[in-house]
Amino acid sequence: MVGGILDLGEMSTFFTSSMGWLVRPPFRLYEIFEQIEFVGNKSVFIIMLSGLFTGMVFALQTYSAFHVVSSETLIGPTVALALTRELGPVMTGLIVAGRAGAAMSAQIGTMRVTEQIDALEVMGVNPKQYLVTPRIVACVIAMPLLAAVFDFIGNLGSYYLSTHLLNIDAATYLDKINLFTRPKDIAQGLIKAAFFGLIFSLIGTFKGFHTKNGARGVGMATNETVVLSSILILVSDYFLSALIKMIMY
């Protein structure tokens, strides 16, 4: 428990020192784009797949409830709001944390135990600037984009399910969405997604950087990254949502 709190402190210093390197040359633009491609482009397919089925199942389940009170037309906005505000960012966060966050800790952890990070330092290259900062920046940029994809495909799936299987009028479906959804509903989800990106990239790079004990250590670091990231995403989601509610509504 104490160890966990100490870790948190260490992580904050780790974060601040890594971010300090953002404003010092060399700017590592190539590495940032490389990471955006890894975190972003390579996650698109799985995000689309997840988004599609999440949107569809949510529409299905909402239908059961609303059908009882004959409010099927509200499925559109309900699904839309649920996706953009919560499901989009959180699901994207969990999926990408498992994918990219784990990969980050595994790769950096392996570099640590094979002395590659020492080699970087010896060559006068700051390992945080070269390895950590680009990854964190890339995740903060890529995550909102991925969440947006999730939201869009999810709504698409929900739309097709509703209009073709559940016999809801297409025009009404779309009209109601327009009535109840505001840009700020989408925006808050994207901000959350960026924040989740920050969480798992920080944890992933931190755990990787501080890996010890060879292969076993790398395995542990990866495991801890996914578990901790997932928990923190879910927990912070609540607090973020509460905060957003206070500020925006």
Binding site: Q107, E115, Q116, D118, V122, M123, G124
Partner: protein, 259 residues
């Protein structure tokens, strides 16, 4: 200056019972091959990390090429590091880069004004020196043999034409034939670069006496003895005598052959 590296009363400990270096005094002469020997766990790698500025001493000073590392900021420290080349125990090649990219890396980082082709040419030159031709350029470290990895590591260490070349256990874990090849490579590399200071951390004792101009023995957190191999063979210290007796049998013709 006469000494490339000077350690004065270097002390370092990790935690309450983790005294590793207990007052190390060492002067590494410029332009020579110095081998630092000592049993496993004696603190050789820790000492090496101090020389590189990767660790900060609890007490004492570390002076490299006339500069006190303790007084340098991150930027100045990085400048000094450009004058070092280091071969890690397992070569520590970047496994997401090919052979040629590994060697190009320090050149790209430190000499940003060079064009791509020029960087490539320099890298090819370094690889040629260690006996690796174009057929190896695009291979990844994972498909290279241990010996080849060391050679790529050496080429990378030499990329920026350093003044001080450090080797961390270069032959540990290699078969005797390969070990001797690596030793010869170390010597020929040294001889081809006038003014280069080579520092080798090793526990290959026969090799140390065969190739070293100077040998330093790290024992109990301090330098027990330092000097040309002669000094070890002529020492009256019973510990050293027992130590050397075993080694004498293996040392053949070489820079430090006994009389």
């Amino acid at each position: 200056m006469e000494n490339a590296i000077e350690l004065i009363n270097l002390r370092k400990s990790f935690g309450p019972n983790g005294d590793v270096l207990k007052g190390v005094d060492l002067k590494v002469p410029r332009g020579k091959i110095t081998v630092i020997i000592g049993f496993s766990g004696a603190g050789k790698s820790v000492m090496l990390k101090h020389i590189l500025g990767l660790l900060k001493a609890d007490q004492g000073t570390v002076t490299v090429l006339g500069q006190d590392l303790g007084r340098l900021d991150e930027h100045a420290l990085n400048e000094i590091r450009k004058k070092f080349g280091m071969l890690f125990q397992s070569a520590a090649l970047f496994d997401d880069m090919t052979t040629i990219e590994n060697v190009e890396f320090p050149i790209k980082e430190m000499r940003r004004k060079l064009k791509k082709q020029e960087i490539r040419k320099e890298a090819e030159q370094r690889l040629k020196v260690v006996g690796l031709g174009p057929e190896h350029y695009n291979k990844y470290p994972s498909v290279l043999s241990g010996g080849m990895r060391k050679r790529v590591g050496l080429a990378r260490a030499l990329a920026l034409e350093p003044e001080i070349l450090l080797y961390d256990e270069p032959t540990t874990g290699l078969d005797p034939v390969l070990a001797e090849t690596v030793d010869d490579l170390i010597v020929s590399t040294h001889n081809h670069r006038p003014g280069l200071t080579s520092v080798i951390i090793s526990h290959d004792l026969p090799a140390a006496f065969r190739i070293g101009d100077y040998v330093a023995m790290l024992d109990g957190g301090k330098i027990r003895l330092f000097g040309p191999p002669q000094v070890f063979f002529e020492s009256e210290d019973p510990f050293i005598k027992k130590f050397v007796h075993k080694v004498k049998e293996y040392v053949g013709e070489g820079r430090g052959a006994p009389p």
